[in-house]
């Protein structure tokens, strides 16, 4: 599969910020780069490392909507910079 520079940006390789991910992308959360407050808040909403989700909507310079198993989460763009994600290797 050939990758151009632009498709690189749309399909993050392991360890990219969620803010860079494209719409429709299936992702797995690798790590949360932030303080305890941010980590616990995300955890309470079910966003823990290892959890998989899909980017449902994304606004240019705006927030994202993530589709998790049983919930839809609205995440500010600032937050999305702190979440490190990867494309799951399975299937």
């Amino acid at each position: 599969m050939q990758k151009t520079a632009s498709s690189e940006a749309r399909h993050p390789v392991a360890g990219q910020a969620l803010a860079q991910a494209g719409v429709g992308q299936r992702l797995r959360l690798l790590a949360v780069h932030g303080g305890t407050g941010l980590r616990t808040r995300l955890a309470a909403l079910g966003l823990l490392p290892g959890v998989e989700f899909r980017v449902l909507r994304k606004q240019a310079n705006g927030p994202l909507i993530l589709a998790m198993k049983h919930s839809r989460i609205l995440l500010g763009r600032g937050m999305a910079q702190h979440l490190e994600v990867e494309v799951p290797h399975t299937h």
Binding site: T40, A44, L48, Q59, A60, K69, H70, L74
Partner: protein, 697 residues
């Protein structure tokens, strides 16, 4: 025992778990928004008698966890941890069980008697989810009662269970809920911290030692701030460092993982049939409603409809009420017994009826607006609106939801301020509240539409109007930025929220919500508005001209007003008003319009001694045009826009911010801002060589 037992029941649960509907069902909708010992957050409490027990049911703010991130979460945590209710009911959304049970695992650790209300169980069942509830109950060690908040199904069983648990009948079988086990390494660390806490001496009150240890290991800022003992602090730091080295993840993440593991283990064992259709319908609707191109136009159309409903439909009953109060005033005027003092008649007509009239005529607007907001909220659309607007609001340093109150501010600041309640965090609410008066409201529009045609030629009028509206918006943006930098910097909350699946709101809960808001407005804001109205009547009436006898008649109204306190204040203020191009007459009218902006026109009418009657308005227009330049007129408009929010706004700002400090800050700040901006414009305008020789309209 026959003496009724008094029990405090706390309803805890995630936002959108249907907690409030359940609360309404339990208290028979007789809950009151009480000033429960919470400070900044309104917490509803209600009474319910069940069997031998008198229950005080407290509706805690919705939270996802016990870690406090916002004022509401902080209040929920404080009520649970410090006030220790007799029983906790954790309201859990059956269709999103695992995530909702996360809070339950934290509540369990508080070791309070606890019952789980498996809410919206009908929806989950209809979608094909089947649970072995006795099994889940045994695994968690908690009584579980399936409920349907909207129909009241299961409430009696819930109340029975509460009584049983409170009387210890249920508790004997499972003394405390089974708690998550965090694995050997973390449990060892917890044991170490507990030992350190024990030897440091118990100042934890009724809090379980294990709960405190968990909070500390999770690096909870509130718990950490409460630690005074150095050995405890080192024990926590060492334990955190060891676990971090061992697992390469911070302990709070490990512990959250274990909690979810505990929950999903229990759920898997107790689930007979599962489905993942919770969001299919909702996602289909979102395909349109949050569409990149369609989303925003749909939002704007909906907002336009809300605006229209509120102010166009609301204008009809407003007109009736207006006429009713006018009729009442007219009746008093004509049927006043000849011997009775005229000042009393004036007080009743201008002060009381004027004041009550102002209060009541806002009511249709407020009721319609809150009905619309209740529908937007309960249906789940509000969260989508936030998604669509956040990008724009964010640039102003505001929350995505702020645009709803701000938009409504163009209609009337009073209901708009009440709409700031949709914002969860106090920071966002205060910030929005403070800049709201800069939106040109309907009353200001009446001033603009009188002044602009007098002073400006037809081709200019729309632009002058637009420039005033834009000036308000730009000043609001600047003020939001400035305020955020000055006061709300550190308090900024990470922006994460859940999008609940769309639901059809029930009419009952919407009406209840609307009624509650309306009543609150009448009770709290109404009394203050009435008070202000009487105060301004006093200012504009006393002291009276000596010539005017006890009848009050005889003297020209203009002389009487000039002689009154309002007139004197206007004169006294003249040196301050000069730089803005205002004379004492404008000053007096401005003092008079403190009660309501649209009074400015009426006050000017009195000052210019315009005879009542048909030619009233044209006469006033001619006189104003002779007296003032277009530049002064523009400055009056600018000052009206920015300065001194009306009495009703001040009352509601206090009611919503619950702080005289912020209310006075807003009043004073806006007045100073108005003075600065208007002076700048007036002085700059005077420097303009011949540019202001505008053609006469």
């Amino acid at each position: 025992m026959n003496t009724p037992r008094t029990l405090t029941v706390a309803l805890a649960g995630n936002p959108n778990s249907g907690k409030t509907t359940l609360f309404n069902g339990l208290t028979g909708a007789r809950g009151h928004v009480g000033n429960y010992p919470g400070v900044t957050v309104e917490i509803r409490a209600g009474e319910r008698r069940h069997g031998n027990a008198q229950l005080t049911i407290v509706d805690l703010p919705g939270t996802y966890s016990l870690a406090a991130h916002s004022a509401e979460e902080h209040e929920a945590r404080r009520l649970l941890v410090e006030q220790r209710p007799d029983i906790v009911v954790d309201v859990v959304d059956a269709s999103n069980l695992e995530r909702n049970l996360y809070l339950a695992t934290q509540l369990m650790e508080l070791k309070l008697p606890m019952v789980i209300a498996l809410n919206m169980s009908d929806v989950a069942r209809a979608r094909g989810q089947e649970m072995d509830l006795p099994r889940l109950s045994a695994l968690l060690g908690l009584p579980i009662v399936p409920t349907v908040g909207s129909t009241g199904e299961g409430l009696d069983v819930l109340l029975d269970t509460l009584a049983e648990v409170a009387e210890g009948r249920r508790g004997t079988q499972a003394p405390w809920p089974s708690q998550p086990h965090y694995g050997r390494e973390i449990e060892d660390a917890l044991a170490g911290i507990q030992a350190a806490l024990r030897s440091a001496g118990g100042d934890g009150g009724p809090l379980p030692l294990r709960w405190r240890a968990i909070q500390l290991l999770e690096n909870d800022p509130e718990a950490a701030a409460g630690v005074t003992s150095e050995p405890v602090r080192t024990a926590v730091a060492r334990a955190r460092a060891q676990l971090q080295a061992l697992f390469r993840d911070p302990p709070e993440i490990l512990m959250a993982e274990r909690r979810y593991g505990y929950i999903s283990g229990a759920c898997q064992e107790a689930t007979l049939k599962t489905v993942e259709t919770r969001h299919t319908r909702s996602d289909q609707m979102d395909a349109i409603l949050t569409h990149p191109l369609l989303g925003l136009p749909i939002l704007l159309v909906l907002m336009f409809l809300v605006f229209q409903l509120t102010f166009t439909l609301g204008a009809i009953p407003m007109g009736w009420l207006d006429r009713m109060f006018d009729g009442l005033a007219g009746l008093l005027w004509t049927r006043w017994p000849p011997g009775a003092p005229a000042w009393l008649r004036s007080l009743l007509v201008d002060g009381v009826i004027g004041g009550v009239g102002t209060v009541v005529t806002f009511l249709p607007n407020i009721l319609i607006l809150f009905l619309a907001i209740a529908w937007l909220e309960d249906s789940g659309y509000m969260a989508r609106a936030v998604f669509l607007m956040d990008r724009w609001m964010h640039r102003m340093g505001l929350h995505g939801k702020s645009f709803i109150p701000l938009l409504l501010g163009f209609g009337c600041t009073v209901p708009a301020m009440m709409a700031t309640r949709i914002l969860e965090s106090r920071r966002d609410r205060l910030l929005t509240l403070l800049i709201l008066p800069l939106m040109s409201c309907g009353a200001k529009l009446t001033v603009y539409s009188l002044f602009i045609p007098i002073f400006f030629p037809a081709p200019w009028r729309a632009w002058v109007m637009l420039s005033i509206y834009l000036a308000g918006i730009l000043l609001a943006i600047a003020a939001a930025q400035g305020l955020r930098r000055a006061f709300f910097r550190e308090d900024s909350m990470p922006f994460i929220m859940e999008l609940p699946p769309y639901r059809l709101p029930t009419l009952k809960s919407s009406l209840l919500h609307t009624w509650e808001r309306g009543w609150l407005y009448l009770k709290k804001a109404g009394t203050v508005i009435l008070g202000f109205s009487i105060l301004f009547w006093l200012l504009a009436t006393f002291p009276r001209l000596p010539a005017a006898g006890p009848g009050g008649g005889g003297a020209a109204p203009a002389d009487a007003l000039a002689h009154s306190a309002a007139g004197r204040i206007g004169r006294a203020l003249e040196p301050v008003l000069r730089p803005m191009g205002f004379d004492w007459r404008i000053g007096t009218a401005l003092v008079g319009s403190l009660a309501a902006k649209e009074l400015l026109v009426a006050q000017l009418g009195v000052i210019f001694s315009v005879a009542e009657g048909e030619r009233h308005l044209t006469d006033l227009q001619a006189q104003l045009r002779r007296a003032y330049s277009p530049l002064t007129a523009f400055c009056v408009l600018l000052f009206t826009l920015i300065a001194t929010p009306c009495a009703a706004t001040v009352a509601v700002a206090f009611r919503e911010s619950r702080s005289w400090k912020w209310t006075l800050f807003q009043w004073g700040g806006l007045t100073l801002l108005a003075f600065a901006v208007t002076t700048l414009v007036y002085q700059a305008g005077r420097l303009w060589p011949a540019g202001l020789r505008w053609p006469a309209p």
